[in-house]
Symmetry: C2
Subunit: 363 residues, 2 copies
Amino acid sequence: MINKIVKPTLVLNKKIALNNIKKQIQISRKNNIILRPHFKTHQSLEIGTWFKSLGIKKITVSSLKMAEYFSAQWDDITLAFPVNIREIKTINTLLSSITLNLLLESVFVLKFLEKNLTNKANVLLKLDAGYGRSGINIENLEEVNKIIEHSKKMKNLTLAGFLIHNGHTYSSRSIDDILSIHSKSMKKINFFHQKIVDNSNYVISIGDTPSCSVINNYEKTIHEIRPGNLVFYDLAQWQIGSCKIEDIAIRMVCPVVSIHSDRNEAVIYGGAIHFSKDFIKINKNKVFGYVYSSGSDIWSDNKSIGYLKLVSQEHGIVKFYKIPERLHEGNLLSIIPVHSCLNANLMKKYLTDDGKIIEMMKD
Amino acid sequence: MINKIVKPTLVLNKKIALNNIKKQIQISRKNNIILRPHFKTHQSLEIGTWFKSLGIKKITVSSLKMAEYFSAQWDDITLAFPVNIREIKTINTLLSSITLNLLLESVFVLKFLEKNLTNKANVLLKLDAGYGRSGINIENLEEVNKIIEHSKKMKNLTLAGFLIHNGHTYSSRSIDDILSIHSKSMKKINFFHQKIVDNSNYVISIGDTPSCSVINNYEKTIHEIRPGNLVFYDLAQWQIGSCKIEDIAIRMVCPVVSIHSDRNEAVIYGGAIHFSKDFIKINKNKVFGYVYSSGSDIWSDNKSIGYLKLVSQEHGIVKFYKIPERLHEGNLLSIIPVHSCLNANLMKKYLTDDGKIIEMMKD
């Protein structure tokens, strides 16, 4: 199938993705915690069925639109993004058919919801255990207690627990780095658990992909994990230390359109509107993807021949370590993208290794 | 209309865009050169009609898909991207209904086209006058002459001229920088013209947005310009020196979803899947957009109150110079994006200031 590709194409290896999912399911079962995978990475009902067939019943999404899309097949969805109160109509519609768990971090939003919700809803309080993007500081027990007290007066709202995203593990460059950040965060979480959660029905949900990739034994204070990216992984996760190259389940396949042997470079059809502009830095070079020759089995080829050094709207510039002999325009290259979530979001569909097209959520 | 927005929305000011287009048309008429605007920025048939109503007859696109889309209303299209020979079927289909000018830079592709084209086509030879992305070095007359000689033997192909994109003007930080790069490039182009183009029917086409924004008088060696971004402009073009803030015709309007007064920050619904990950650097800070309050007239407000310091998939983090009093969740902010082409490509439609939805090319 690969050799029939004419345009930049996102290729998915189902076997690798299933292995990534299964590994995570095993860990969650062993620890007796809920695995509520984040579906913002794949954004596909069909890929969702792979999780469902392995026993997953609850999911996470990052937008209301995604919640609507997945509500066709899932009835317990956490929207892990602070409630956008301007979308209250859609929230109410969705609440009439599924369990939608909403995320908030202020009394203002709590009161808005109590006043405007037409159905009962669960809310999760967003806590910040060190990342610094959103959420109440997990050590600010006064503020947390204020919201807990307010929530007790609410009729349509149930405070179900606390949600944490340790996005700062993304700065890791080794398994030790990840473990160190996770451990610091867990100290705060355990203290919080002791002060607030113990002897209650509140749940604590964590689950960045780096931590979920390296933690085998969770402490009893954790009830749920929500990794997303680990279904596919990508070059950023590889650099972080979450996975090996052979765990990465997607590759872009792109045609060569122009060759510059004098500078060991080629231009591919495949740019920012296919890959996104996310890059990693390797030896001070920006890297937008690792490049592999595109033989009959792209999945067994784990020795890169160059890297994507620049992307503009449609162009990608490949820098080869040594330009392949007999390379010509029309040849295909296989490229591991830096960020699978943004890459998939741009590509809008997958070609599986057995030649099937898998659709994603549409605009 | 603005105050009814519920989700991240790309707002377009038609008057500003029309002024940008008209200014460019005046310059091209005064210089007696063809203005063949690049439509990869707006990707919209409807916005195309604005150009058509002002007398534009020829356009530029960056993909075959875009050429197909615009072929519904345009019959002379330059595909300013090296021919992807794997798409030969679509090329042939399109050539049966419109004039499609193809871009190439090697004898290999020239021969492939001669063998596989089923209709007559114009080709343009891509030259590199200093940018270093694609094209034959403009000083390599030997290689150019080789392709010219080959093209003379071809039946289905007419070598129509030479296309140059001085993308290195994007590193400019002032009008003087742009003029200096343009001037260096023009020296090479004039020499090339004297050696190759003079007394022939070949055209020379240039036209990056920075140069087109500041050049009023073109030398006689230039026959055509192809600016794209200048219909909207953006923060990157403002930093380059191409435009003023008030020339920028688009803004993103996004709801606030979480507030962190202690660090002068707020989280908006609006992230990498809306803005792209393109950023500029201002005083060592990454800036993904300039932020304005979103009053009744966002277009008259040119004094930013902060900047977008980070974007993840759906989140944007706004750093305010001083957080506005009484800011609360659900408020709207207006944001000038860094790169209008990638921003529009992600948003897929526009809301005009008079409340109309303008559709773009679909996936």
